[in-house]
Symmetry: C3
Subunit: 354 residues, 3 copies
């Protein structure tokens, strides 16, 4: 009933809880969970019902399957506490599908697949912002799965499933082989356009008013806080402020490919040009010229308004200087930063219909 019990935990941190539909492997192991209606800080009564069901104290994390005889009892108890969506989910799901309940603290290290999936859901439902959850160790917990037209499949079961599909005259399409599924299989938050959903992982936080174009990409625990046009890549951990624009193919350096330990971010009202990139936290109101990659160690000639040289420093030393335009002087080859005096003029019609 309670295969996972994450031990005692500071009960002062926010609780989250959800009822989910799980995929299981041939050996009946939970490999993935869909939580249609996760909650942050659910009502005390609801937490109490779930904790009692899971055999947990209020300060513990854990999950358990909701099995046959318990379904009606738990649904009734939740309905009585006003949790009609959860109750309805339980009572409307056939007994041969795997239901489970999970409760979790935001700052608890996850120790099971249902807990990791709940945390990733919280991010993509915009219930918590990137970089505010403890996700340590989740890579080791998650299974590398085939995400297919028939759902999540364990890799050692895949060849037989693919052959069987072909022998029926069908094709089992494998969209992805990964530890992380794509977000839209679980949730599409309000007010966004996502041109190619294959490029947005569950755990991405896509702000209201954000458009992610075909060349855009958003990793887990990363995203945009509000209106944004994303045609570049938002690496794991990177947060982009409101009214910013990542041009086509632009890059924010993560930790996957030689990036350092500094967390990269993009401020408000920034523009990273097409095929440009940053390896340092970009302050509000800055522009990176198309095609220019500025790493933290890039030496930059900082110019005054009149074009005279103020100083030369590394880019990461400019991480708190707002409203600079970074460009490579096309005659001297030097990277320069100059104060911006006019505002960025984005296409109004496009953004007004995000």
């Amino acid at each position: 009933m309670h295969p996972t019990n994450n031990g005692s935990h500071n009960s002062g941190t926010p609780h989250s809880a959800a009822i989910g539909l799980a995929s299981v492997s041939a050996s009946d192991e939970v490999i993935e969970v869909f939580y249609p209606s996760p909650q942050l800080n659910p009502a005390a009564k609801s937490v109490s019902i779930l904790c009692q069901y899971l055999g947990l104290s209020k300060s513990e994390n854990g999950w358990a399957r909701i099995t046959g005889p318990d379904r009606r009892l738990l649904a009734n108890a939740l309905a009585g506490a006003g949790e009609t969506t959860w109750a309805e989910l339980i009572s409307s799901t056939d007994i041969d599908h795997t239901l489970l309940a999970c409760v979790n603290h935001m700052d608890a290290t996850p120790v099971s697949i249902p807990e990791v999936f709940l945390k990733l859901h919280l991010l993509s439902h915009r219930l918590v912002k990137p970089q505010t959850l403890v996700l340590d160790g989740m890579f080791a917990l998650l299974k590398n799965l085939a995400w297919t037209s028939e759902g999540a499949i364990e890799l050692d079961e895949l060849p037989a499933r693919q052959l069987a599909a072909r022998q029926r005259g069908e094709v089992l399409d494998v969209h992805s082989v990964d530890k992380f599924p794509k977000m839209t299989t679980y949730v599409v938050p309000s007010g966004v356009r996502l041109a190619d959903t294959a490029r947005i992982r569950l755990g991405a936080y896509i702000g209201e008013g954000t458009t992610v174009m075909h060349e855009g990409f958003v990793n887990f625990n990363a995203g945009t806080l509000g209106t944004a046009m994303v045609e570049g890549r938002i690496s794991a951990g990177v947060v982009v402020g409101e009214d910013s624009d990542l041009g086509g193919g632009s890059s924010t350096m993560g930790t996957l490919s030689g990036g350092g330990s500094i967390i990269i971010s993009v401020g408000r009202n920034c523009l990273i040009g097409a095929n440009a990139g940053i390896g340092f936290p970009l302050p509000d109101g800055c522009i990176i010229e198309a095609g220019l990659y500025v790493t933290g160690g890039t030496k930059v000639n900082v110019l005054a308004q009149d074009g005279s040289l103020n100083k030369t420093c590394k880019a990461h030393e400019l991480a708190s200087t707002t409203s600079l335009l970074y460009r490579r002087n096309s005659l001297s080859g030097a990277v320069e930063a100059i104060p911006i005096t006019h505002s960025i003029d984005l296409n109004t019609e496009l953004h007004s219909h995000n």
Copy 2:
């Protein structure tokens, strides 16, 4: 019968017309239309039949559903006028599916979803070239929809549909959340290869002999006029001439991400290198070296054949100078343009089997 009537219009401009199969929302609103056989300048008799059915004068635009009792009458009239494909479409479609007819002038501002979809079809069927249609206001008309394995779905209906699929043991796959669907759900024009169709929007014009590789992208009202190898991004409004090649990850600046108001184009027999880009109209026979981004304002040292400096100017001033190679001098860091004296040697076998 005629919910949309776009008013009187100059009848001298080209007509287009089509019979379509529509998706409707739960509230029975048309949200998307598939026109299998759109026509530009259909026979006068055919236009007359459709206008009469729609209650329009010949100079008006409009659309209407083809409802139960009218289906046989309209099919017979169209068959009598030789429009056997349209007649067959009407008579072979079950009564519970939504059929509609639409007539439109190319230079009329669209005022309804069926009209916008007809215009986008005309482009992708190669009946009209990019930048020759009036598309003003279409962003506001189109609905942001989930394009899924079960077809187009309104976003407020999506969560229930996804839950229902999971409860059946299936997955409703959301490919895209966007105002524009992908082209190949509607038409695959002849003589093209499209390695990843998720990256080509309806309204793209893909010329005969064009290959769009996995990293290629083509927006609406944009495309290639003939043979081309596209591994880069063709932004909205950008037209690429014959025998040109956009290298992997290359960029053509549009209006979405800080681009200016000048329409970018690529001439014939051009090569934009991998990860390169342009922010000015590139004339015939030009090459941009891999990795170099030339915006309209980039100052360029224009060299003579012998390497001596002819002049220094901004790139947009070179928008009518053909056969230049743009490169960044790897020792001085200066952007240079030098006359090309040899021809581009593309891989013959690959291109001959486009």
Copy 3:
């Protein structure tokens, strides 16, 4: 019985053989083949059985359908030779599906679609390494097909199939229009993560321990030999050594887009930064700074450890100099190569869970 007989051939080179399930066109032509269990150098007895069935000498290549009356006989013979997987495939496949057998020599020029598909399978099953097979002429042999949610469809049959799907209230999704399908429809090799399978063609060789992220791409006859993080593009023919890392949007120059005739490769323990690229074979232990494209002709200032200039040469002259860091001096604009004295520190947790 033996529509294709590739003539006599040097029998000393490795044999390959497989039993496959084929898709056929409306005119009953084989257009694509799925070989679940291809073999390199199968047992002599097995080859003998297949060659006898195909009417081939041991030094010949060829293929033939396995038709009704022959199925049981061939299955029994293969089972008797210990080929239980092949025997089971034949006996478990319904008679209305097209089965075929194919034998092939690695260095024989393919002359049929089943032979090309067998060679591409050998690569993706990691039975042979890239650049070790003769693939000449395969572009001309392969058909340009629509790869759809209903399997492979000939392009002239597509419009009717798409209309029929819409008239049933469904959508026939066209994933790709190409001569090459995606790899994962045929095989997912062990120990890999493939975030967006649309970007990996059949014929790619994905080494054990490789992660291909969403922005990664791997063409046929190309790939990684072991552990690698691929967020960039591996062009046809390019081989990447163990423990190397291709940053987001990075490029390896192929022959498709203006690349020359030199085969590009990436050594062991290399890092190509985000949005960077190479146009020359990169030796072991080298780093290309983010955003820098080094072509074979790029003039490079080669520096000593103390920063003094050793020499200036073209990058392709450095194709055997290991452990260099390539960067563009951000003040002078010159491309420089300096010896690397510290090791690359990749994210350990991420790579340990590939």
